[in-house]
Protein backbone atom coordinates (compact mmCIF):
# COMPACT_ATOMS: atom_id res chain seq x y z
CA UNK A 1 0.00 0.00 0.00
CA UNK A 2 1.52 3.17 -1.23
CA UNK A 3 0.60 6.34 0.67
CA UNK A 4 1.32 8.30 -2.51
CA UNK A 5 -1.58 6.56 -4.21
CA UNK A 6 -3.90 7.68 -1.44
CA UNK A 7 -2.87 11.31 -1.92
CA UNK A 8 -3.20 10.95 -5.64
CA UNK A 9 -6.80 9.82 -5.25
CA UNK A 10 -7.68 12.54 -2.73
CA UNK A 11 -8.62 15.40 -5.12
CA UNK A 12 -11.05 13.08 -6.90
CA UNK A 13 -12.63 12.15 -3.59
CA UNK A 14 -12.96 15.82 -2.67
CA UNK A 15 -14.58 16.64 -6.03
CA UNK A 16 -17.02 13.80 -5.64
CA UNK A 17 -17.66 14.85 -2.05
CA UNK A 18 -18.60 18.39 -3.09
CA UNK A 19 -21.01 17.13 -5.77
CA UNK A 20 -22.65 14.80 -3.26
CA UNK A 21 -22.60 17.70 -0.81
CA UNK A 22 -25.05 19.52 -3.10
CA UNK A 23 -27.25 16.43 -2.88
CA UNK A 24 -26.84 16.37 0.91
CA UNK A 25 -28.07 19.99 1.08
CA UNK A 26 -31.30 18.74 -0.49
CA UNK A 27 -31.53 16.00 2.12
CA UNK A 28 -30.74 18.54 4.86
CA UNK A 29 -33.73 20.57 3.67
CA UNK A 30 -36.21 17.73 4.18
CA UNK A 31 -34.58 15.70 6.94
CA UNK A 32 -33.46 18.56 9.18
CA UNK A 33 -35.62 21.57 8.31
CA UNK A 34 -38.91 19.89 7.42
CA UNK A 35 -38.40 16.84 9.67
CA UNK A 36 -39.41 14.55 6.82
CA UNK A 37 -37.35 11.46 5.89
CA UNK A 38 -37.76 11.66 2.13
CA UNK A 39 -36.65 8.50 0.35
CA UNK A 40 -37.69 9.71 -3.10
CA UNK A 41 -34.20 11.22 -3.49
CA UNK A 42 -32.79 7.80 -4.50
CA UNK A 43 -34.98 8.09 -7.57
CA UNK A 44 -34.74 11.80 -8.26
CA UNK A 45 -30.92 11.74 -8.10
CA UNK A 46 -30.86 9.29 -11.02
CA UNK A 47 -33.61 11.28 -12.74
CA UNK A 48 -31.37 14.32 -12.67
CA UNK A 49 -28.52 12.29 -14.15
CA UNK A 50 -30.72 10.81 -16.87
CA UNK A 51 -32.26 14.14 -17.86
CA UNK A 52 -28.86 15.82 -18.02
CA UNK A 53 -27.25 13.12 -20.18
CA UNK A 54 -30.22 12.90 -22.56
CA UNK A 55 -30.38 16.67 -23.00
CA UNK A 56 -26.65 17.27 -23.39
CA UNK A 57 -26.34 14.45 -25.92
CA UNK A 58 -29.21 15.97 -27.88
CA UNK A 59 -27.48 19.31 -28.10
CA UNK A 60 -28.37 21.26 -24.95
CA UNK A 61 -25.66 23.14 -23.14
CA UNK A 62 -24.49 21.64 -19.87
CA UNK A 63 -25.87 24.45 -17.62
CA UNK A 64 -29.30 24.53 -19.29
CA UNK A 65 -29.51 20.73 -18.98
CA UNK A 66 -28.84 21.11 -15.26
CA UNK A 67 -31.62 23.68 -14.97
CA UNK A 68 -33.98 21.18 -16.60
CA UNK A 69 -32.77 18.45 -14.23
CA UNK A 70 -33.68 20.79 -11.37
CA UNK A 71 -37.14 21.36 -12.86
CA UNK A 72 -37.83 17.65 -13.36
CA UNK A 73 -36.61 17.00 -9.80
CA UNK A 74 -39.21 19.51 -8.61
CA UNK A 75 -41.89 17.41 -10.28
CA UNK A 76 -40.62 14.30 -8.48
CA UNK A 77 -40.81 16.12 -5.14
CA UNK A 78 -44.26 17.35 -6.05
CA UNK A 79 -45.35 13.71 -6.50
CA UNK A 80 -44.11 12.76 -3.02
CA UNK A 81 -45.71 15.87 -1.56
CA UNK A 82 -49.08 15.12 -3.11
CA UNK A 83 -48.97 11.47 -2.06
CA UNK A 84 -48.27 12.61 1.50
CA UNK A 85 -50.51 15.65 1.92
CA UNK A 86 -53.49 15.07 -0.39
CA UNK A 87 -53.61 11.27 -0.19
CA UNK A 88 -52.55 10.86 3.44
CA UNK A 89 -49.70 8.40 2.81
CA UNK A 90 -47.07 8.36 5.60
CA UNK A 91 -43.83 10.20 4.74
CA UNK A 92 -41.48 7.23 4.34
CA UNK A 93 -43.96 5.27 2.25
CA UNK A 94 -44.76 8.27 0.05
CA UNK A 95 -41.04 8.63 -0.68
CA UNK A 96 -40.62 4.93 -1.44
CA UNK A 97 -43.56 5.00 -3.86
CA UNK A 98 -42.11 7.93 -5.76
CA UNK A 99 -38.69 6.31 -5.74
CA UNK A 100 -39.95 3.04 -7.26
CA UNK A 101 -42.07 4.90 -9.80
CA UNK A 102 -39.06 7.00 -10.81
CA UNK A 103 -37.14 3.81 -11.67
CA UNK A 104 -39.51 3.30 -14.61
CA UNK A 105 -39.60 7.00 -15.40
CA UNK A 106 -35.80 7.11 -15.52
CA UNK A 107 -35.65 4.11 -17.85
CA UNK A 108 -38.12 5.88 -20.12
CA UNK A 109 -36.10 9.09 -20.06
CA UNK A 110 -33.09 7.08 -21.23
CA UNK A 111 -35.23 5.33 -23.88
CA UNK A 112 -35.03 2.02 -22.11
CA UNK A 113 -31.26 1.98 -21.60
CA UNK A 114 -29.96 1.30 -18.11
CA UNK A 115 -26.85 3.28 -18.82
CA UNK A 116 -26.04 6.22 -21.06
CA UNK A 117 -22.58 7.61 -21.75
CA UNK A 118 -21.70 11.29 -21.87
CA UNK A 119 -18.19 11.74 -23.19
CA UNK A 120 -16.23 14.78 -22.14
CA UNK A 121 -14.42 14.54 -25.47
CA UNK A 122 -17.60 15.22 -27.39
CA UNK A 123 -19.38 17.72 -25.18
CA UNK A 124 -18.49 20.80 -23.24
CA UNK A 125 -19.18 19.77 -19.63
CA UNK A 126 -19.16 21.89 -16.48
CA UNK A 127 -17.46 19.22 -14.39
CA UNK A 128 -15.56 16.08 -15.27
CA UNK A 129 -13.11 13.68 -13.65
CA UNK A 130 -10.81 14.54 -16.54
CA UNK A 131 -10.36 18.04 -15.08
CA UNK A 132 -10.47 17.52 -11.35
CA UNK A 133 -9.13 20.85 -10.16
CA UNK A 134 -11.57 22.71 -12.41
CA UNK A 135 -14.34 20.46 -11.12
CA UNK A 136 -13.48 21.29 -7.53
CA UNK A 137 -13.51 25.00 -8.36
CA UNK A 138 -16.81 24.92 -10.29
CA UNK A 139 -18.57 22.60 -7.83
CA UNK A 140 -17.43 24.71 -4.86
CA UNK A 141 -18.75 27.83 -6.59
CA UNK A 142 -22.09 26.19 -7.27
CA UNK A 143 -22.27 24.93 -3.69
CA UNK A 144 -21.55 28.35 -2.21
CA UNK A 145 -24.18 29.99 -4.41
CA UNK A 146 -26.67 27.30 -3.38
CA UNK A 147 -25.90 27.79 0.31
CA UNK A 148 -26.41 31.55 -0.05
CA UNK A 149 -29.71 30.99 -1.89
CA UNK A 150 -30.89 28.59 0.80
CA UNK A 151 -29.84 31.01 3.52
CA UNK A 152 -31.81 33.75 1.84
CA UNK A 153 -34.86 31.56 1.17
CA UNK A 154 -35.15 30.23 4.71
CA UNK A 155 -34.93 33.78 5.99
CA UNK A 156 -37.95 34.88 3.97
CA UNK A 157 -41.53 34.74 5.20
CA UNK A 158 -42.18 31.58 3.21
CA UNK A 159 -38.94 29.92 4.30
CA UNK A 160 -39.68 30.78 7.93
CA UNK A 161 -43.11 29.20 7.53
CA UNK A 162 -41.43 26.01 6.25
CA UNK A 163 -39.07 25.99 9.22
CA UNK A 164 -42.01 26.48 11.59
CA UNK A 165 -43.86 23.62 9.90
CA UNK A 166 -40.84 21.41 10.53
CA UNK A 167 -40.49 22.25 14.22
CA UNK A 168 -44.12 22.58 15.27
CA UNK A 169 -46.97 21.79 12.86
CA UNK A 170 -49.69 22.48 15.45
CA UNK A 171 -48.31 25.94 16.19
CA UNK A 172 -47.89 26.62 12.48
CA UNK A 173 -51.54 25.88 11.76
CA UNK A 174 -52.57 28.11 14.66
CA UNK A 175 -50.50 30.89 13.08
CA UNK A 176 -52.36 30.46 9.80
CA UNK A 177 -49.68 28.51 7.93
CA UNK A 178 -50.87 26.04 5.30
CA UNK A 179 -48.56 23.24 6.40
CA UNK A 180 -49.51 20.91 3.54
CA UNK A 181 -48.47 23.54 1.02
CA UNK A 182 -45.22 24.20 2.92
CA UNK A 183 -44.37 20.49 2.88
CA UNK A 184 -45.03 20.25 -0.86
CA UNK A 185 -42.87 23.31 -1.56
CA UNK A 186 -39.97 22.04 0.55
CA UNK A 187 -40.13 18.53 -0.91
CA UNK A 188 -40.18 19.96 -4.44
CA UNK A 189 -37.22 22.25 -3.88
CA UNK A 190 -35.28 19.49 -2.12
CA UNK A 191 -35.77 17.01 -4.95
CA UNK A 192 -34.92 19.73 -7.44
CA UNK A 193 -31.58 20.22 -5.71
CA UNK A 194 -31.00 16.47 -5.53
CA UNK A 195 -31.74 16.04 -9.26
CA UNK A 196 -29.42 18.96 -10.02
CA UNK A 197 -26.68 17.19 -8.09
CA UNK A 198 -27.44 13.97 -9.97
CA UNK A 199 -26.91 15.92 -13.19
CA UNK A 200 -23.56 17.15 -11.92
CA UNK A 201 -22.45 13.64 -10.99
CA UNK A 202 -23.49 12.26 -14.40
CA UNK A 203 -21.29 14.89 -16.05
CA UNK A 204 -18.46 14.24 -13.64
CA UNK A 205 -18.39 10.47 -14.12
CA UNK A 206 -19.31 10.67 -17.81
CA UNK A 207 -22.47 8.62 -17.74
CA UNK A 208 -25.92 8.27 -16.19
CA UNK A 209 -26.93 4.97 -14.71
CA UNK A 210 -30.32 3.71 -13.62
CA UNK A 211 -28.76 2.67 -10.29
CA UNK A 212 -26.69 5.79 -9.65
CA UNK A 213 -29.11 6.98 -6.95
CA UNK A 214 -29.24 3.74 -5.02
CA UNK A 215 -28.47 4.55 -1.41
CA UNK A 216 -28.32 8.28 -2.10
CA UNK A 217 -30.49 8.99 0.93
CA UNK A 218 -28.03 7.15 3.16
CA UNK A 219 -25.07 9.07 1.73
CA UNK A 220 -27.04 12.30 2.17
CA UNK A 221 -27.82 11.40 5.77
CA UNK A 222 -24.19 10.41 6.34
CA UNK A 223 -23.10 13.86 5.13
CA UNK A 224 -25.68 15.68 7.25
CA UNK A 225 -24.82 13.72 10.38
CA UNK A 226 -21.04 13.63 9.96
CA UNK A 227 -21.12 17.36 9.25
CA UNK A 228 -23.20 17.97 12.34
CA UNK A 229 -20.91 15.97 14.60
CA UNK A 230 -17.76 17.63 13.24
CA UNK A 231 -19.33 21.09 13.36
CA UNK A 232 -20.46 20.54 16.91
CA UNK A 233 -17.00 19.40 17.93
CA UNK A 234 -15.25 22.35 16.27
CA UNK A 235 -17.65 25.22 16.81
CA UNK A 236 -20.06 23.94 19.45
CA UNK A 237 -23.30 25.72 20.10
CA UNK A 238 -22.45 28.84 18.12
CA UNK A 239 -23.25 27.18 14.79
CA UNK A 240 -25.59 29.38 12.81
CA UNK A 241 -27.64 28.34 9.83
CA UNK A 242 -25.09 29.15 7.16
CA UNK A 243 -22.30 27.33 9.02
CA UNK A 244 -24.56 24.32 9.52
CA UNK A 245 -25.05 24.10 5.74
CA UNK A 246 -21.30 24.49 5.14
CA UNK A 247 -20.71 21.56 7.46
CA UNK A 248 -23.21 19.44 5.54
CA UNK A 249 -20.96 19.81 2.48
CA UNK A 250 -17.86 19.24 4.62
CA UNK A 251 -19.57 16.10 5.92
CA UNK A 252 -20.01 14.85 2.36
CA UNK A 253 -16.35 15.55 1.58
CA UNK A 254 -15.25 13.74 4.75
CA UNK A 255 -17.42 10.81 3.78
CA UNK A 256 -15.78 10.51 0.36
CA UNK A 257 -12.32 10.90 1.88
CA UNK A 258 -13.20 8.02 4.23
CA UNK A 259 -14.35 6.00 1.23
CA UNK A 260 -11.06 6.82 -0.51
CA UNK A 261 -9.13 5.56 2.50
CA UNK A 262 -10.99 2.25 2.78
CA UNK A 263 -10.58 1.67 -0.94
CA UNK A 264 -6.88 2.39 -0.59
CA UNK A 265 -6.86 -0.18 2.22
CA UNK A 266 -8.03 -2.61 -0.50
CA UNK A 267 -11.53 -3.11 0.80
CA UNK A 268 -13.54 -4.79 -1.99
CA UNK A 269 -15.90 -2.25 -3.61
CA UNK A 270 -18.73 -4.74 -3.12
CA UNK A 271 -18.61 -3.90 0.58
CA UNK A 272 -18.89 -0.13 0.15
CA UNK A 273 -22.61 0.08 0.89
CA UNK A 274 -22.16 -2.06 3.98
CA UNK A 275 -19.39 0.28 5.08
CA UNK A 276 -21.64 3.30 4.48
CA UNK A 277 -24.45 1.78 6.52
CA UNK A 278 -22.06 1.05 9.39
CA UNK A 279 -20.69 4.62 9.28
CA UNK A 280 -24.16 6.18 9.36
CA UNK A 281 -25.29 3.83 12.11
CA UNK A 282 -22.20 4.75 14.15
CA UNK A 283 -22.66 8.49 13.75
CA UNK A 284 -26.35 8.20 14.58
CA UNK A 285 -25.64 6.04 17.63
CA UNK A 286 -22.75 8.03 19.14
CA UNK A 287 -24.79 10.97 20.54
CA UNK A 288 -27.32 8.55 21.96
CA UNK A 289 -24.71 6.31 23.55
CA UNK A 290 -22.83 9.30 24.96
CA UNK A 291 -25.98 10.51 26.66
CA UNK A 292 -26.66 7.02 27.93
CA UNK A 293 -23.17 6.66 29.34
CA UNK A 294 -23.62 9.83 31.38
CA UNK A 295 -27.03 8.84 32.54
CA UNK A 296 -27.17 5.08 32.89
CA UNK A 297 -28.64 2.58 35.31
CA UNK A 298 -25.27 0.86 35.47
CA UNK A 299 -23.70 4.06 36.85
CA UNK A 300 -26.61 4.68 39.19
CA UNK A 301 -26.24 1.07 40.35
CA UNK A 302 -22.54 1.54 41.14
CA UNK A 303 -23.23 4.78 43.01
CA UNK A 304 -26.06 3.09 44.81
CA UNK A 305 -23.85 0.16 45.77
CA UNK A 306 -21.15 2.48 47.11
CA UNK A 307 -23.73 4.39 49.11
CA UNK A 308 -25.20 1.17 50.41
CA UNK A 309 -21.79 -0.16 51.47
CA UNK A 310 -20.81 3.06 53.19
CA UNK A 311 -23.98 3.13 55.28
CA UNK A 312 -23.89 -0.54 56.14
Amino acid sequence: MNIGMLFQAMPGNVAQGIIWGVMALGVFMTFKILDFADLSVDGSFATGGAVTVVLVTSGWSSPSALVMAFAVGILAGLATGILHTLLGIPDILAGILTQIALYSVNLNIMSGAANMALSVNQYNLLVSLRYISRTILVASGITLVLICLMYWYFGTEQGSAIRATGTNPAMSRAQGINISLMKVIALSLSNGIVAFSGGLLAQYQGFADINMGRGAIVIGLAAVIIGEVIGHALIGKRMNFIVRMLFVVIGAIMYYIAIGIVLWLRMPTNNLKLFTAVIVALFLAVPYLKDKANNSFAKAGRRGAAYHDSTD
Binding site: Y153, E157, Q158, A161, N168, S172, Q175
Partner: protein, 265 residues
Protein backbone atom coordinates in the same frame (compact mmCIF):
# COMPACT_ATOMS: atom_id res chain seq x y z
CA UNK B 1 -68.57 39.15 17.86
CA UNK B 2 -68.70 35.35 18.08
CA UNK B 3 -71.76 33.22 17.81
CA UNK B 4 -72.00 29.46 18.19
CA UNK B 5 -75.33 27.94 17.22
CA UNK B 6 -76.33 24.39 18.13
CA UNK B 7 -72.84 22.92 17.75
CA UNK B 8 -72.71 19.14 17.84
CA UNK B 9 -69.69 16.88 17.65
CA UNK B 10 -69.40 13.12 18.14
CA UNK B 11 -66.01 11.45 18.27
CA UNK B 12 -65.50 7.93 16.91
CA UNK B 13 -69.08 7.54 15.72
CA UNK B 14 -70.27 3.98 15.29
CA UNK B 15 -67.50 2.49 17.43
CA UNK B 16 -67.40 1.31 21.01
CA UNK B 17 -65.54 4.55 21.86
CA UNK B 18 -68.31 6.76 20.51
CA UNK B 19 -68.52 9.95 22.52
CA UNK B 20 -70.94 12.81 22.14
CA UNK B 21 -68.54 15.59 23.06
CA UNK B 22 -70.64 18.64 22.17
CA UNK B 23 -74.39 18.31 22.41
CA UNK B 24 -75.97 21.41 20.95
CA UNK B 25 -73.77 24.19 22.29
CA UNK B 26 -75.03 27.71 21.64
CA UNK B 27 -73.15 30.76 22.82
CA UNK B 28 -73.05 34.42 21.88
CA UNK B 29 -70.30 36.75 23.02
CA UNK B 30 -70.11 40.51 22.58
CA UNK B 31 -66.93 42.37 21.77
CA UNK B 32 -64.75 42.66 24.83
CA UNK B 33 -66.45 39.84 26.73
CA UNK B 34 -64.03 37.87 28.89
CA UNK B 35 -65.62 34.50 29.43
CA UNK B 36 -64.27 31.81 31.72
CA UNK B 37 -65.25 28.19 31.12
CA UNK B 38 -65.28 25.55 33.85
CA UNK B 39 -66.59 22.00 34.09
CA UNK B 40 -65.70 18.45 35.06
CA UNK B 41 -63.37 16.15 33.18
CA UNK B 42 -64.70 15.43 29.70
CA UNK B 43 -67.38 18.10 29.97
CA UNK B 44 -66.52 19.52 26.56
CA UNK B 45 -64.58 22.67 27.53
CA UNK B 46 -61.53 22.11 25.37
CA UNK B 47 -63.68 20.49 22.70
CA UNK B 48 -65.68 23.70 22.40
CA UNK B 49 -62.47 25.72 21.97
CA UNK B 50 -61.20 23.25 19.38
CA UNK B 51 -64.51 23.53 17.52
CA UNK B 52 -64.03 27.30 17.33
CA UNK B 53 -60.37 26.91 16.32
CA UNK B 54 -61.28 24.42 13.60
CA UNK B 55 -59.12 21.53 14.80
CA UNK B 56 -61.75 19.32 13.06
CA UNK B 57 -65.08 20.08 11.36
CA UNK B 58 -68.20 20.10 13.54
CA UNK B 59 -71.05 17.66 12.79
CA UNK B 60 -73.84 20.23 13.09
CA UNK B 61 -74.35 23.88 13.84
CA UNK B 62 -72.63 27.07 12.81
CA UNK B 63 -69.78 29.23 14.02
CA UNK B 64 -69.86 32.91 13.11
CA UNK B 65 -66.95 35.20 13.99
CA UNK B 66 -67.35 38.93 13.45
CA UNK B 67 -70.21 38.40 11.02
CA UNK B 68 -68.39 35.81 8.94
CA UNK B 69 -69.48 32.19 8.90
CA UNK B 70 -66.29 30.21 9.48
CA UNK B 71 -67.89 26.78 9.95
CA UNK B 72 -66.47 25.52 6.65
CA UNK B 73 -62.99 27.02 7.00
CA UNK B 74 -60.04 24.81 7.87
CA UNK B 75 -57.87 25.51 10.91
CA UNK B 76 -55.18 27.56 9.18
CA UNK B 77 -57.73 29.64 7.27
CA UNK B 78 -59.54 30.54 10.47
CA UNK B 79 -56.32 31.42 12.21
CA UNK B 80 -56.49 35.06 11.13
CA UNK B 81 -59.47 35.60 13.43
CA UNK B 82 -58.04 33.75 16.40
CA UNK B 83 -55.30 34.03 18.98
CA UNK B 84 -54.60 30.78 20.77
CA UNK B 85 -52.68 29.66 23.82
CA UNK B 86 -52.55 25.97 24.63
CA UNK B 87 -52.23 23.96 27.82
CA UNK B 88 -48.85 22.52 26.88
CA UNK B 89 -46.23 25.32 26.76
CA UNK B 90 -44.48 23.34 24.00
CA UNK B 91 -47.44 23.62 21.63
CA UNK B 92 -47.67 27.37 21.15
CA UNK B 93 -44.14 28.17 19.97
CA UNK B 94 -41.53 26.78 17.57
CA UNK B 95 -38.73 25.54 19.84
CA UNK B 96 -35.99 25.54 17.19
CA UNK B 97 -36.63 29.14 16.21
CA UNK B 98 -35.62 32.38 17.89
CA UNK B 99 -37.92 34.53 20.02
CA UNK B 100 -38.08 37.27 17.38
CA UNK B 101 -38.69 34.72 14.61
CA UNK B 102 -41.62 33.27 16.54
CA UNK B 103 -43.09 36.75 16.98
CA UNK B 104 -42.58 37.47 13.28
CA UNK B 105 -44.47 34.27 12.39
CA UNK B 106 -47.34 35.35 14.61
CA UNK B 107 -47.28 38.89 13.26
CA UNK B 108 -48.01 37.46 9.77
CA UNK B 109 -51.00 35.39 10.87
CA UNK B 110 -53.70 35.63 8.21
CA UNK B 111 -51.40 37.32 5.70
CA UNK B 112 -49.81 35.73 2.66
CA UNK B 113 -46.22 34.68 3.19
CA UNK B 114 -44.08 35.55 0.22
CA UNK B 115 -40.43 36.07 -0.46
CA UNK B 116 -40.03 39.26 1.53
CA UNK B 117 -37.51 39.00 4.36
CA UNK B 118 -39.09 37.14 7.30
CA UNK B 119 -38.42 39.86 9.86
CA UNK B 120 -37.76 43.55 9.34
CA UNK B 121 -35.72 45.94 11.44
CA UNK B 122 -38.66 48.10 12.50
CA UNK B 123 -40.50 44.94 13.52
CA UNK B 124 -37.63 44.00 15.81
CA UNK B 125 -37.91 47.33 17.62
CA UNK B 126 -41.62 46.81 18.02
CA UNK B 127 -41.05 43.31 19.45
CA UNK B 128 -38.42 44.67 21.79
CA UNK B 129 -40.97 47.07 23.28
CA UNK B 130 -43.70 44.44 23.44
CA UNK B 131 -41.40 41.94 25.16
CA UNK B 132 -40.33 44.57 27.68
CA UNK B 133 -43.88 44.76 28.94
CA UNK B 134 -43.83 41.08 29.84
CA UNK B 135 -41.20 41.90 32.50
CA UNK B 136 -39.32 38.68 31.92
CA UNK B 137 -36.16 40.16 30.45
CA UNK B 138 -36.89 38.46 27.13
CA UNK B 139 -36.31 41.72 25.24
CA UNK B 140 -32.58 41.22 25.77
CA UNK B 141 -32.68 37.64 24.51
CA UNK B 142 -34.52 38.10 21.23
CA UNK B 143 -32.20 35.82 19.28
CA UNK B 144 -32.41 33.01 21.85
CA UNK B 145 -34.05 29.80 20.67
CA UNK B 146 -37.46 29.46 22.30
CA UNK B 147 -36.63 25.88 23.28
CA UNK B 148 -34.30 27.29 25.95
CA UNK B 149 -37.09 29.19 27.73
CA UNK B 150 -39.01 27.93 30.76
CA UNK B 151 -42.64 26.85 30.51
CA UNK B 152 -43.87 30.11 32.01
CA UNK B 153 -41.74 32.22 29.68
CA UNK B 154 -43.00 30.24 26.72
CA UNK B 155 -46.63 30.73 27.76
CA UNK B 156 -46.10 34.47 28.21
CA UNK B 157 -44.48 34.59 24.77
CA UNK B 158 -47.35 32.59 23.25
CA UNK B 159 -49.78 35.06 24.80
CA UNK B 160 -47.91 37.93 23.25
CA UNK B 161 -47.88 36.10 19.89
CA UNK B 162 -51.61 35.49 20.14
CA UNK B 163 -52.35 39.16 20.72
CA UNK B 164 -49.72 40.76 18.46
CA UNK B 165 -52.22 40.87 15.62
CA UNK B 166 -55.37 41.79 17.52
CA UNK B 167 -57.50 38.61 17.24
CA UNK B 168 -61.29 38.71 16.95
CA UNK B 169 -61.36 36.02 19.61
CA UNK B 170 -58.65 34.91 22.05
CA UNK B 171 -58.82 31.21 22.98
CA UNK B 172 -57.02 30.18 26.16
CA UNK B 173 -57.14 26.44 26.77
CA UNK B 174 -56.07 25.84 30.39
CA UNK B 175 -52.99 27.83 29.54
CA UNK B 176 -51.71 27.93 33.11
CA UNK B 177 -52.46 24.31 34.04
CA UNK B 178 -48.93 23.08 33.36
CA UNK B 179 -47.24 25.88 35.35
CA UNK B 180 -46.30 26.15 39.00
CA UNK B 181 -48.68 28.35 41.04
CA UNK B 182 -46.43 31.41 41.14
CA UNK B 183 -45.71 31.37 37.40
CA UNK B 184 -49.39 30.67 36.71
CA UNK B 185 -50.26 33.82 38.64
CA UNK B 186 -47.83 35.94 36.59
CA UNK B 187 -49.12 34.53 33.30
CA UNK B 188 -52.72 35.16 34.37
CA UNK B 189 -51.90 38.74 35.30
CA UNK B 190 -50.28 39.22 31.90
CA UNK B 191 -53.37 37.70 30.34
CA UNK B 192 -55.66 40.12 32.11
CA UNK B 193 -53.48 43.08 31.20
CA UNK B 194 -53.32 42.18 27.50
CA UNK B 195 -57.04 41.41 27.34
CA UNK B 196 -58.07 44.73 28.87
CA UNK B 197 -55.42 46.69 26.97
CA UNK B 198 -56.70 45.48 23.60
CA UNK B 199 -60.32 44.96 24.70
CA UNK B 200 -60.13 41.35 23.48
CA UNK B 201 -63.07 38.99 23.26
CA UNK B 202 -61.71 36.09 25.28
CA UNK B 203 -62.62 32.51 26.12
CA UNK B 204 -60.56 31.05 28.94
CA UNK B 205 -60.92 27.41 29.93
CA UNK B 206 -59.60 26.79 33.41
CA UNK B 207 -59.74 24.02 35.97
CA UNK B 208 -59.23 26.53 38.74
CA UNK B 209 -62.58 27.74 40.07
CA UNK B 210 -61.05 30.63 41.94
CA UNK B 211 -59.45 31.95 38.76
CA UNK B 212 -62.68 31.37 36.87
CA UNK B 213 -64.52 33.56 39.34
CA UNK B 214 -61.78 36.15 39.73
CA UNK B 215 -61.14 36.81 36.04
CA UNK B 216 -63.54 37.93 33.33
CA UNK B 217 -67.06 39.32 33.25
CA UNK B 218 -68.90 36.11 32.51
CA UNK B 219 -68.62 32.46 33.52
CA UNK B 220 -70.11 29.36 31.97
CA UNK B 221 -70.10 25.83 33.30
CA UNK B 222 -70.21 22.82 31.01
CA UNK B 223 -71.32 19.27 31.63
CA UNK B 224 -71.68 16.37 29.21
CA UNK B 225 -71.23 18.56 26.17
CA UNK B 226 -73.73 21.20 27.20
CA UNK B 227 -73.58 24.64 28.76
CA UNK B 228 -75.46 24.23 32.01
CA UNK B 229 -74.73 27.53 33.72
CA UNK B 230 -74.17 31.01 32.36
CA UNK B 231 -73.60 33.78 34.87
CA UNK B 232 -72.50 37.34 34.18
CA UNK B 233 -72.52 40.85 35.58
CA UNK B 234 -73.07 41.54 39.29
CA UNK B 235 -74.11 37.98 40.01
CA UNK B 236 -70.76 36.71 38.75
CA UNK B 237 -68.78 39.19 40.84
CA UNK B 238 -70.37 37.90 44.01
CA UNK B 239 -69.96 34.19 43.24
CA UNK B 240 -68.13 31.85 45.60
CA UNK B 241 -66.75 28.40 44.92
CA UNK B 242 -69.41 26.91 47.17
CA UNK B 243 -72.10 28.70 45.14
CA UNK B 244 -70.72 27.20 41.96
CA UNK B 245 -70.50 23.67 43.34
CA UNK B 246 -74.01 23.99 44.71
CA UNK B 247 -75.39 25.29 41.42
CA UNK B 248 -73.64 22.52 39.55
CA UNK B 249 -75.32 19.86 41.69
CA UNK B 250 -78.63 21.62 41.33
CA UNK B 251 -78.53 21.71 37.54
CA UNK B 252 -76.86 18.42 36.75
CA UNK B 253 -78.15 16.32 39.64
CA UNK B 254 -74.69 14.91 40.29
CA UNK B 255 -71.59 15.82 42.22
CA UNK B 256 -68.84 17.86 40.64
CA UNK B 257 -66.19 15.37 39.58
CA UNK B 258 -63.08 17.41 38.84
CA UNK B 259 -60.98 17.07 41.98
CA UNK B 260 -58.35 19.33 40.51
CA UNK B 261 -60.89 22.10 40.17
CA UNK B 262 -62.14 21.75 43.71
CA UNK B 263 -58.79 21.29 45.39
CA UNK B 264 -56.88 24.04 43.62
CA UNK B 265 -58.26 26.82 45.72
Amino acid sequence: MIQLTEIKKTFNPGTINEKLALDGVSLTMEEGDFLTVIGGNGAGKSTMLNAIAGTWPVDEGSIVIDGENVTGLSEYRRAKYLGRVFQDPMTGTAADMQIDENLALANRRGKSRGLAWGITKSEREFYHEALKELNLGLEDRMTTKVGLLSGGQRQALTLLMATLQKPKVLLLDEHTAALDPKTARTVLETTERLVSEHNLTTLMVTHNMRDAIHYGNRIIMMNEGKIILDISGEEKKNLTIEDLLHKFEEVSGEEFTNDQAILSK
